[in-house]
């Protein structure tokens, strides 16, 4: 069916507010009598607290209260587990250890909260933090992921007999048997390090306990307002309906704002209730590096078994995953990694041991890409090495192994983050891959341009990397669609938004059903008072799960509209059409009734609403996919390297993406641009540097290098494929994280190709000029 609104480049409904400074962010909330919080955080990564003296802080003028773990008494308890380990996995070991609002006995990572000061202003609160003196007994620190499981390693959690947080084993077919038949077996070890999400807006929370109304209102930079509401109610002994959590406009999420409960989220509402005053805490940038979660450190020992023709018979990958000092987010990340270790390839035999490991470093939870980037890095690097080893063209070996279009739905056998067997719902990989090859002009470049440039002494390389992204997992989201007597359409969902354009893409879905202008659809997201149910913004699931919930609700309202209108216009429903906010007769368009009039009729002041029907033109519906939708894409780049200075320049960048039905190409392209920029950071600029004491040596934006306009390619050229997902009515798949996933693998390929004469072998990410120098001149 031809779409009127879906698939169109429609300007975003949210933009005018954002562009004029009229959008509400958490730090914009001002309430009379509001107090301000500042935290004393541990300088040490691992230490016992022998004493805390807050007396001087309490005496400082302007300070209202100072709390330590002790002051919380019986209210002190660690956060709830956010995600439990997969019940479906046999023999999985999982030790759940969660962060506390304030450290009681032992500090387990630098930046953990030791005390909180509540004062009349943030300035005074920070003065008072300096008045607090803490005696620490420093302990040996667990930093090196590779050494953390050694028997003599210090323990992050003393009650465990090692730093093993979790172990899981997954297999498909029989790798060892496959290996026995293989012509070649390639073995490599890969090191992948940590980066930060570094959203432009740091985290923040405002809690307002209304003692008379017995109502707690919380503004929180969270990606999961519903879960925060429920958890807060439980912690504070309130009913869910006494707590209202608002996730207003949020300055970027990228994963870490999905983590819950952060210590501050447990503490600030508690303080507000204690003092019966509104309390605001806004994370500062330095805090953000220690207190907000980060990701990506893993060490992989990989084997790939192939025939001499380059058919991949099997993969074996035993890897260590750094989970930081606690593991509230369960096994989501290692599972995502395992799910992507076979990439888009048809591989029958797979074996993977993963050990998640506690270290004295900040907590690890998903960051855009969420374990997938690591999996894709490993498989794509291995395929590159295989091509080299077998002297097969790197394009050919990939084409040889892609999952064929007729194999979908493709059972990947191993269990994914949704705790179900991963099934790739649909896809047609070859055309996407070939489109990228064609767009970058591969043939022409390698045959003509590259030789010419090499002759000129230039080091220019080309790379092409395919990848899958599992997206849109359950459990569910919901939405309510309502036509008001004003004719305005009002839509609410519990799903939070952090810049993905939901106010517009969801509106397009509704407009498609009700024939109203997109700008006339008002969307409210992330306010628990507006919609009670939902899960959260993660796993690139907005357009898939929330989008289809909106679609379901809008379709239901459309049915109500048609039913009523057919009465009013005395015309069968199938002869009616919804257009320009009116229902009209297909054959005589000037005979029509407006949606507003119908809404008024559906809410009569006299007479009786027929039994079995409800007043109003309103519907609430939910969507929970049977399993996730699998997107596919291929990125390509041409990069020039100066092997004297290690400075790089991306000459061209291609991103071809198949994310099913595209709701708004403008928004999808924007998501890809952003993902790629973060991926470029992950590949060559962004790394959290920990020293041997677990100190972060670059906890500022001057030393933690997110890319600027200068580090980006001249432009990112985008191509689209459209393999609809059979699992949902809209046929959508997720795209939010896609851009970031293949970039480090792509970079490694491009660097090796550009520096052919150096016979470089890249087994790590992120790289940097200094590291590249070491690889080129020290081997």
């Amino acid at each position: 069916m031809t779409k009127q609104f879906i698939g169109k480049r429609i300007k975003r409904n949210e933009d005018p507010r954002l562009l004029t400074g009229q959008a509400l962010f958490v730090d914009d909330v001002e309430i009379p009598g509001m107090l301000h919080a500042a935290f004393l955080r541990s300088d040490y990564a691992h230490a016992r607290i022998s004493s805390i003296d807050v007396s001087a802080a309490r005496e400082r003028p302007g300070v209202v209260a100072v709390y330590t773990a002790e002051d919380m008494g019986d209210d002190w308890e660690p956060g709830p587990p956010l995600v439990s380990p997969p019940p479906t996995l046999q023999g999985v070991t999982f030790h759940s250890r969660r962060q506390a609002p304030l450290v009681r006995d032992k500090v387990r990572h630098a930046g953990e909260t030791v005390a909180v000061v509540i004062a009349e202003s943030r300035y005074i609160a920070e003065d008072a933090v300096e008045d607090i003196s803490v005696e620490y007994d420093p302990l040996p620190v667990v930093v090196d992921l590779g050494k953390a499981l050694e028997p003599d390693s210090p323990l992050v959690h003393d009650d465990l007999d090692s730093n093993l947080a979790a172990h899981l084993y997954q297999q498909k077919g029989n790798y060892e048997a496959a290996k026995a038949q293989a012509d070649v077996v390639i073995k490599k070890r890969f090191y992948l390090d940590r980066g930060a999400a570094a959203a432009l807006e740091n985290r923040g929370i405002v809690a307002h306990w209304d003692e008379k109304g017995k109502q707690l209102i919380i503004w929180d930079t969270t990606q999961a307002p519903i879960a925060i509401r429920n958890g807060t109610a439980t912690r504070l002994g309130l009913s869910e309906n006494q707590v209202r959590v608002i996730a207003p406009f949020i300055g970027g999420g990228f994963g870490p704002k999905m983590m819950m409960f952060y210590p501050e989220e447990m503490l600030i509402p508690w303080v507000s209730m204690k003092l019966c005053r509104p309390v605001k805490w806004i994370e500062d940038r330095r805090e953000n590096f220690y207190a907000t979660t980060s990701e990506r450190e893993q060490i992989h020992d990989v084997e790939m078994a192939l025939t001499k023709e380059g058919r991949i018979l099997g993969i074996k990958d035993d890897f260590l995953h750094d989970t930081g000092a606690f593991d509230p987010y369960g096994l989501t990340l290692p599972l995502n990694t395992q799910c992507h270790l076979m990439g888009g390839y048809d591989i029958e035999n797979f074996s993977s041991n993963c050990s998640a490991v506690f270290t004295n470093k900040p907590i690890v939870t998903p960051v855009r890409g969420a374990g997938r980037q690591q999996g894709i890095y490993v498989i794509e690097r291995m395929v590159d090495f295989a091509a080299k080893e077998l002297a097969i063209d790197p394009l050919e070996i990939r084409k040889k192994n892609f999952i064929p279009p007729d194999a979908f739905p493709y059972n990947n056998v191993i269990v994914d983050q949704a705790f179900a067997t991963l099934i790739l719902d649909s896809g047609n990989y070859m055309p996407i891959y070939e489109k990228a090859v064609e767009m970058i002009g591969y043939e022409q470049f390698v045959k003509e341009e590259q030789p010419r440039l090499r002759a000129e002494g230039k080091h220019v390389g080309i790379a092409i990397t395919p990848f899958i992204e599992t997206t849109g997992v359950g459990p569910y989201e919901g939405a309510r669609v309502q036509i008001e007597a004003s004719g305005k359409v009002y839509v609410t969902t519990g799903y939070g938004t952090q810049g993905q354009g939901h106010y517009t893409s969801f509106a397009q879905i509704v407009s498609e059903q009700l024939g109203v202008a997109v700008s006339g659809v008002r969307i409210i997201t992330g306010d628990t008072a507006e919609f009670h149910w939902g899960t959260g913004t993660f796993a690139s699931r907005g357009a898939v799960v929330a989008g289809n919930a909106v679609h379901a609700a809008a379709s239901a309202v459309r049915q109500k509209v048609l039913k009523l209108a057919s009465k009013v216009l005395a015309t069968p429903e199938d002869e009616l059409e919804l257009e320009d906010g009116k229902v009209r007769m297909a054959n005589i368009p000037h005979t029509s009734v407006s949606l507003g009039e119908l809404a008024a009729l559906a809410n009569p002041l006299r007479g009786a609403v027929e039994p079995g029907t409800e007043p109003g033109l309103e519907a609430t519906d939910y969507f929970g996919p049977q399993y996730g939708a699998a997107a596919f894409g291929t990125h390509a780049m041409i990069m020039e390297v100066d092997p004297e200075t290690m400075m790089i320049e991306i000459k061209r960048y291609i991103a071809v993406e198949d994310c099913g039905r595209v709701l708004n190409p403008m928004i999808v392209e924007g998501q890809l641009h952003g993902g790629v920029s973060m991926g470029i950071g992950n590949a060559y600029y962004e790394k959290l540097h920990f020293d041997e004491n677990g100190q972060i040596l670059n906890a500022s934006l001057a030393d933690y290098l997110t890319v600027t306009a200068y580090e980006m390619p001249p432009r990112i050229e985008i191509g689209h494929g459209e393999t609809l997902s059979p699992l949902n009515k809209l046929g959508t798949k997720g795209v939010g994280e896609a851009g970031a996933i293949p970039v480090p693998a792509l970079f490694a390929q491009a660097l090796e190709n550009a520096l052919l004469d150096y016979d470089l072998e890249i087994l790590e990410t992120p790289l940097s000029p200094n590291r590249l120098f070491e690889l080129l001149y020290k081997s």
Partner: protein, 158 residues
């Protein structure tokens, strides 16, 4: 030591008189004393550019200035550029070119670009990169920001 200063400053054309502590950052003064929360704070060490405002018509980091330093000066924030009903051509261009996503960095980028486009009615790609190189954006990869600036330049030329 709480020696207060009488500060009078013109913000978006309005004269404000307030008593402030010398250490109060201009960014906090604008946001919390004047309620002009369109100016955002992303790092408070002068790198991210979200807090950029126009100080006597030149882009400056409001987190790297004390409010007292604005005494007798003219400040323009994003609220002073255009309104929802009548957007500045630059704001229109950002809307049309999808030059923003979460919108947190946007006010600082807009205030940076207004004088830039007045001085460079027809900027080159390179000049635009240079102009926005002091503003970090985590969502857009800068591409549609570049597009928006080109579009704005057209709009502002005719």
């Amino acid at each position: 030591m709480r020696n207060l200063f009488n500060l009078s400053v013109t913000v978006n054309g309005t004269l404000y008189e307030r008593e402030v502590e010398p250490r109060l950052l201009l960014s906090d003064f604008l946001r919390h004393d004047l309620g002009l929360t369109g100016t955002h704070v992303g790092c408070e060490h002068g790198v991210c550019g979200a807090c950029t405002i126009l100080f006597d018509n030149e882009p400056a980091r409001s987190c790297l200035m004390f409010a007292v330093q604005a005494h007798g000066h003219k400040v323009i924030t994003v609220e002073g550029l255009g309104t929802i009903d009548s957007l500045h051509p630059l704001q229109e261009a950002f809307w049309e070119a999808h030059g923003l996503q979460c919108g947190f960095c946007t006010p600082g980028i807009l205030t940076t670009l207004v004088p830039f486009l007045e001085k460079n009615p027809d900027p080159s790609e390179e000049e635009i990169r240079e102009a926005i190189s002091g503003n970090l954006c985590r969502c857009t990869g800068y591409q549609n920001i570049m597009e928006a600036v080109k579009l704005a330049a057209e709009k502002m030329r005719d």
